[in-house]
Amino acid sequence: MSKSKAYNKIIVGDDIQHLLINDQKTNKYSLSKEPITIGKERLKIALYFFVFFFAVFSIRNTFLSVFPGDVISEPKLSLALSTKKPLPDIYDRTGKNLLVTTFKTTRAAVVKRSSFNNFDVHKAANKLSPYLKEEPKELLERLSSGKYVEIANDISEKQQYDILNSGVAEVEFHKVWRRVYPSKSLASHILGHSNRDFNQKSSSGFERWLYKNEIKNNKINLSINLNVQNHLENILENAIAKYEAEASFGIVLNAKNGEILALASFPNFDPNTVNNYSQSKTANQRFNRVIQGSYELGSVMKIFTLAMALEEERINLSDEFDVWKCINKSRKKCLSDYRKSKVQYLNAAQCLINSSNICMAQIAHIVGLETQKRFLSETGLLDEQFIELYEMGKPSLPEKWNELSMEQISFGQGLGVVPLSFASAVAAVVNGGYLIEPTLYPRDKSYKTNAKLITSDVSESMRYVMREVVKNGSGKKADVDGYNVIGKTGTADKPCITGGYCGRMTSFVGAFPGNDPEYVVLVSLDNPKGKKDVRGSSAYWNAAPAAGEIIRLIAPQLNIPIQNNFSIFQEHARVDN
């Protein structure tokens, strides 16, 4: 109580400070320092704290204001609501045919602002239901679900007028952009589809490419030729019906610069409406076989085995191989050919023309495993392909690349390749040996690649042999008068998910005109069947004629001059039969 007594002594005018100092001196080590003094000290600390925090805030504020980052909230606004046209219209390479355009439509929504506390949901549901053709009960449920409830999309002016007159004040109308695909399902696997907010989520194809790269040009021309695309799709669609196939796909590729002229996969979808259906239900339609799939294409792969051996100068086209030989290393049975050769010895060119597995296995052995690997990786078949689409699939490589898989790969099994990669690799074989990069954008006429896969001599030899395939071999039905079509058929057993093989996949890869190929065509059918006028189910009976039909229709449109002989070619061919 001594301290309170000390206070009692103080009267107005006293020197308090003196007393306080005295007091402190006497209790120098006591815990009970004068509370006012302690308070003063601690308030000083509090003051420093405030100064410190305000300094920190000023620094933070300065950083934010002087070095502003991206204002994130703006792009968060749906592109569909922007005032300017948010996405470019897309045209084909001729610039005349519209593929995708953007329209403005009206969207109606019930928005509950904070001021509308007395918003009567029941009344609103009853008033709106006749105009929306929806049961009041369902509408009520929807309206009660949130603060912003969209009630109608893409409404006409008449509908807007009706809804306005329904007397529900909370309805707001928004002008929104919408993508429209006038050619419907045509080229749908290139264009893909968009969603209503124009973002990457649940969009596909070139549309997704646009969003992801924020391309905002006014107009885009693709390398697609809509006429060619139309022919390709018609024939592929007909082929499914004609040969009772499960699916089909095809591609027309410029052999010299890699422009994709047409690319189709069936079944396909209508991008205008595809988002109305669930992902899982339309998965088969949405699947782009040309770029997302990876398939064992079969005998068409023999092109690479022969080209590789010629390029490595390990064989000549005239070298003969024993096609009756039993190759049964690490196999239960001897390797067999699709059709057993009548003669025992075939030269390398005949091996490809007759599509002999036994012969190809032998060539692979001559070239060797490492060279095969290197050559195939040079073709780009072992890597992911790049084009302006994000759905690219990956090739399925063999688990172990041993001698057995080397043999299999030599005739087209055990290695799943992405069809687009395959087509561009074939283009490199036939175009004089130049590796090309497929693209959806048109390329300049002056475009040229210098990366070489094989020499032009080997390329010429390959063209000769592939011409023979179409002229006298399994590709006969793909021949079109005047265009010297070159190519190769392939009939592959489809690997089952459960193991083993089930069903077939037939393909024809070709190029025209044969002496200097401008375009590569690939057509594949999934599990076609033979019946009546179509006697077999091999590529000879379905893929080849389909490809021939396509070439017959598109070649004149692509301004390919008609050539009647293959003579220039024969002179240079290094073959003597």
Partner: protein, 385 residues
């Protein structure tokens, strides 16, 4: 011109020469600049409510007038009155808070307001804060004077009572603000460091507890963490905090100009809890820095004034009030700068809001009353035993 003679011994004259006039004018200046900013910000909300675009300006002006009048009146009253006023006000606002739990108007998931005769809505919890501080300071001072530490338990109990009521609303922001202010009082009144350190630990633990038990709180903390540590800007939805940052960044150094800003339209509470960001977008860095300096000067002056009090209760109570004022500004700015998770906290005298303005008027009125330059030793009657 009105002149007050130094020899005037009437209450007004005495007040004029003893009150901290700089503080008084500083606060009035703050309130006027708040009005100016509300000119720009209020059309946003008025647009939302489809009201007259000057609706908020008019309302704010009226409340500011009442608030300043309240402040001056309270500061004129003798120092002893602050305790009486706060005791009465404390009881009333406690009842008010209880009422909000029963008949409260809810907004944004919390019921904090009660409607008075259906004309104005008030938020009683705003008035609880200064009263609780005065009462706490009272008991702390008494425990020191009587060397009886039992008294210092009373503020703790009062705080628990108030915090429970606030958390029932729920109003986490106010609870945390009060908690920190009471902690500051405890600190200032001379609590040993040994006890202050564990208190910090407890608050850490309670934050973690809240995070896992209050989804509202957790989502805000999450959005804040997301902004600071990146991670999926693409899939994060536009949060309040992000909008505030955008507004500040959009303002840059000189601002977009009055009425020229657009991010403020994304701010959910551009006129209350995010007024700082809205000002930053409108007027830019220079104005916000000036504003912060003004606040800092007021806080520093207030703290120095409290330091120099030679009555323990006055020191404690006035410092508590100025710390409340300072902390509220601090938290508001920190939230706007996205330095701490979003909490509903108004910027004193600038944010729109009747209750907040009136309560701040009362707070600063009490502060001014307590820090008047009068001889204190005749007042604390308890010392005369």
């Amino acid at each position: 011109m009105l002149r007050i003679s130094r020899t005037n011994t009437g209450p007004v004259g005495e007040w004029w020469f003893t009150v901290d006039r700089y503080m008084l004018f500083g606060i009035i200046f703050l309130g006027l600049s708040g009005l100016f900013f509300s000119l720009a910000v209020s059309p946003v909300e008025a647009g939302h409510l489809k009201a007259n675009q000057y609706y908020f300006l008019i309302k704010q002006s009226v409340f500011l007038l009442i608030s300043v009048a309240l402040m001056i009146t309270i500061s004129i009253l003798p120092k002893e009155f602050t305790r009486k006023i706060s005791l009465i006000l404390f009881i009333f606002s406690l009842l008010g808070v209880l009422l909000t739990l029963i008949i409260g108007l809810s907004s944004g998931g919390a019921s904090r307001w009660i409607s008075v005769f259906g004309i104005i809505t008030i938020q009683p919890s705003e008035f609880l804060k200064p009263c609780l501080i005065i009462l706490s300071a009272w008991f702390f001072a008494r425990s020191k004077e009587e060397q009886n530490s039992k008294y210092s338990l009373v503020p703790g109990l009062l705080f628990v009572l108030v915090a429970t009521l606030l958390m029932l609303q729920p109003d986490l922001g106010q609870t945390i603000l009060l908690f920190i202010t009471i902690l500051c009082l405890v600190f200032v009144q001379g609590f040993p460091w040994l006890i202050i350190a564990p208190a910090g630990l407890v608050s850490m633990i309670s934050i973690i507890f809240f995070y896992f038990n209050f989804p509202h709180f957790a989502s805000r903390l999450d959005s804040w963490i997301e902004i600071w540590f990146g991670g999926g800007a693409a899939n994060s939805k536009l949060t309040q905090t992000q909008a505030a940052i955008d507004a500040i960044e959009n303002g840059q150094i000189f601002g977009k100009g009055i009425g020229e800003s657009w991010v403020k339209y994304h701010l959910p509470d551009a006129y209350t809890d995010f007024v700082f960001a809205a000002i930053a977008e409108e007027s830019g860095l220079i104005v916000t820095i000036s504003l912060m300096i003004l606040y800092l000067i007021l806080i520093m002056r207030g703290l120095i004034r409290s330091m120099n009090q030679n009555n323990f209760f006055n020191q404690l109570a006035s410092s508590g009030l100025i710390i409340l004022f300072g902390l509220q500004a601090l938290i508001h700015i920190a939230v706007n700068l996205s330095l701490i998770p979003a909490k509903g906290m108004t910027l004193p005298f600038i944010s729109y809001g009747g209750s907040s303005l009136l309560a701040m008027g009362i707070t600063m009125g009490m502060f001014l009353a307590l820090t008047k330059k009068t001889n204190d030793f005749k007042t604390p009657d308890k010392l005369k035993n």
